[in-house]
Structures are given as C-alpha cells and as structure tokens.
Point group: C2
Chain length 202, copies 2
DNA sequence: GTTTAATTACACTGTATAGTATAATTAAGT
DNA sequence: ACTTAATTATACTATACAGTGTAATTAAAC
C-alpha cells in the first residue's frame, strides 16, 4: 500500500524565507522574533518550525540562499580588446550588484553584523564560498601576460583593487540608505584611474 | 547645616564602564545582560543602574568615552621636509591605532554592529565627532599648495586614501582576530605607493 | 567616632520570546 | 470523493532579562 501523498511544500518554504528576510533586515538577527516572521510570511508559527526547526536553521537557510547567488554572477574574463577601465568597471559593478537593491543591501548589512558578532562563523561561512577576488586574480594574470598590467605581487594588487571598491563604495553603502548609481560614477572612475595609475602599463 | 558628604563615585563608575566594555565586546549589545555587566565590574546591579540609569545610557557612555579618544589623536600637520610616504603612513597609523589593541578592536566591532543595526543613529553619532578625514583634507590642501600633490577634486582624493586604508586594513581587521602590525607593512607600502602613483607629483 | 551618601543583597515585576503540544482544519494528489 | 500530509489556531512551558523597591551594610568625610 503505502501511498505517498506529498503536498508541495515549496510555496510555503519560499514565503517563510521571504518573511524571514524582511524581518531579519528590519530587526536584525537577535531582535527578529519567530512570531513576527510567521506573521510576515502569512504562515503559522508552527509551520515555520516544521520547515526549519529553529531560528538558527532558518537564518542559515537565508544566508545560504543569499551567498549562493554570488556564485551565479556571470564570470568576467580578460579580453585584450576591451579597455582596462571598462573591464575593471565590470568587476566593480559585480560588487555593486550586491548592494544595489534594498533587499540585497539589507541582507548584506545583517550578514555583516552577524559576521562581526561571530568572526569564527564568518570565516567558516566565507570559506565555503570562493573568495570574491578569485576571479579577479585570474583576470589579473591574463592582463599581466598580455602586458597591460605590471605588478610584483598579484595578491597585494588584487587586494588593493578590492580595498578601493569596498572602502569607497560597499561599506559606505552599508551605513547609508543605499547607493545612487549615478552619484557614485565619479568615484568609480577615480578608483579605476587610481588602480591603473599604479599598475597600468602606460 | 546641610553638611554635604559626597563620596567619590568615580572609581565605581570606571569599574562599571570597564566591565560593560568587556561584556559588550564579548556578547554584543543585545546579548549583553546587565547582570553580567554588574558581575564583571564587581559591583551590584543596583549600582550600575544608580550610575547609568539604563542599558542604553550605559552603552552611550561607553561609546562617548571611546569616540572622544579619537579627538585626542595628535594632529598631523603637513611638513615640506618629510617624505610624502612617511606623512601618509602617519595617517594610516592613526587609523590602525583604533584597532591595534584587542580592546579597541572589540569596541570598533561592537560600534560597527550597532551602527549597522541603526544607520540613523550611526550618522547622528558620527556627525557629533569630526569626520576622520577632516585633518587629512587640511593636509592635502597644504601638500597641493606646496606642489607635491595634484588633484582636481580634493574630496574624492581624500576618500580614495581612506578607502585604501579602511578597505585594506581596518575592515579586514574587524573580521579577523586583530592585526599583525609587522605583517601589514607590505600592504601599507602598497597603499601609499598606489595613492602617490595617482596623485603624487613626480 | 559620628554621620550619611553610596553601595549591596535580594526579592520582585513585567515582558518578551524560543520552542512545543495538540486537536481541528485544509487542500492537494489519487 | 477519499485520503492524508500539511497547515493552522491556540494555549502552553521555560527562560531570560531590563528595570525597580527596600532594608541592611559600608566606608569616606567631617
């Protein structure tokens, strides 16, 4: 016998995740209550627990959802035919994507807070996902081979680029109400110009 | 009559502040309990409340203590006789000072977390204390007048410098167990070299 | 040594919240 | 239409914690 009738749970699961995201963003992890998450998701609290077991698990699911999106960013490969400025801008824009909707900005904020609270968890989590600048390092190598970039230490060079992007754009965005993509253009030019002034071959 | 016999409260106050700092650092603001703070300070909970009234006030006192130290950093003035590298390094070291003891690092971390939780409070608090790069802007102006730095936009230039320092040193330190002052030297050289490659007049 | 402000010990209130138990209800797959 | 897994409503437990009330104790200033 044993007829199996599994109803589709994905709709509820999705609703819970979305509600959880909203509440985590507005209240932070500690102050987010499971009651409020259930209410926001339009679901009973019991269902939240049936799906995720605990607040910690639920948060973990949200985090993994969020971080796995980074993986899906389209790869940027070195091209000898496109100006270095434009290629660097593509890397900068990939970072900006992570904070250019209020949802992603909010999630970045919450995740940053949790990471600061528990730096060990931060390092473990981040190590599960390839570092942001792995792709950049590959790009660098090819640019060097092509004679367009010169440096003695690729790792330092990569970190300088990401220091510029994160220090000038990402972190300021986390502390403000988001980013005006038009208003930061001069800063983006300044960043790429600075990088190329140091490492460009001209 | 009305003889006034005011005992010296400053010792207890100091002990409470120190205990509060320790607990805020290890538990974060939300999870720090007033009972634990009192115990850590070696003081009764009632005394904590007699001194500070509420958890929020106590935290505020900790924050103001911490931020007012920034003000006391010795001013760095432009000097035509010292190399630009060394002068820039002095600015970088002033930032590094804020994270080079585990106490200051921890406080920076907690403050960053609270600021991320409430960005409005962050902006209000920061605006009460002169922005970090005010001093740098003055320095820049004099360096430009002296013909050692050239830029069309001093504000962008100042932000680029602090983006480099914060993006490469400060924020990474917040997510790690602190900073090895020896190990970051190559990065500091790279930062100043990058800055001067773009804005130095050579 | 006396005075009294500061401190302590301790019991207490009120509230918030993670997580559970369960019986009733719903809705999807057959 | 029937079956049953999923969901809901509701009430509940246990705990943690901010903040208060108060009587007793301590220690510094005189």
């Amino acid at each position: 016998m044993s007829e199996v009738k599994n109803r589709d749970k994905s709709k509820k699961r999705e609703a819970i995740l979305n509600g959880a995201i909203d509440v985590f963003i507005s209240d932070g992890y500690e102050l987010a209550s499971m009651d409020k998450i259930a209410e926001t998701a339009g679901v009973s609290k019991r269902t939240v627990y049936n799906h995720f077991g605990s607040k910690e698990n639920l948060f973990q699911a949200v985090v993994e959802d969020f971080l796995s999106q980074r993986q899906q960013l389209k790869t940027i490969r070195y091209s000898p035919n496109i100006s270095l400025e434009d290629q660097l801008m593509a890397f900068a824009n990939a970072e900006i994507f992570l904070i250019d909707s209020s949802r992603r900005l909010g999630l970045s904020r919450v995740l940053t807070m949790v990471f600061l609270q528990d730096t060990k968890y931060a390092r473990e989590t981040v190590s599960k996902y390839p570092p942001v600048y792995d792709m950049f390092l590959k790009w660098l190598e090819e640019a060097i081979t092509d004679g367009k970039i010169k440096t003695e230490n690729q790792f330092l060079t990569a970190r300088v680029f990401y220091a510029l992007v994160e220090g000038a754009v990402t972190y300021p965005a986390l502390f403000s109400e988001g980013i005006d993509k038009e208003a930061i253009k001069p800063m983006l030019f300044e960043i790429t110009n600075t990088f190329l002034a140091r490492y460009g071959n001209c």
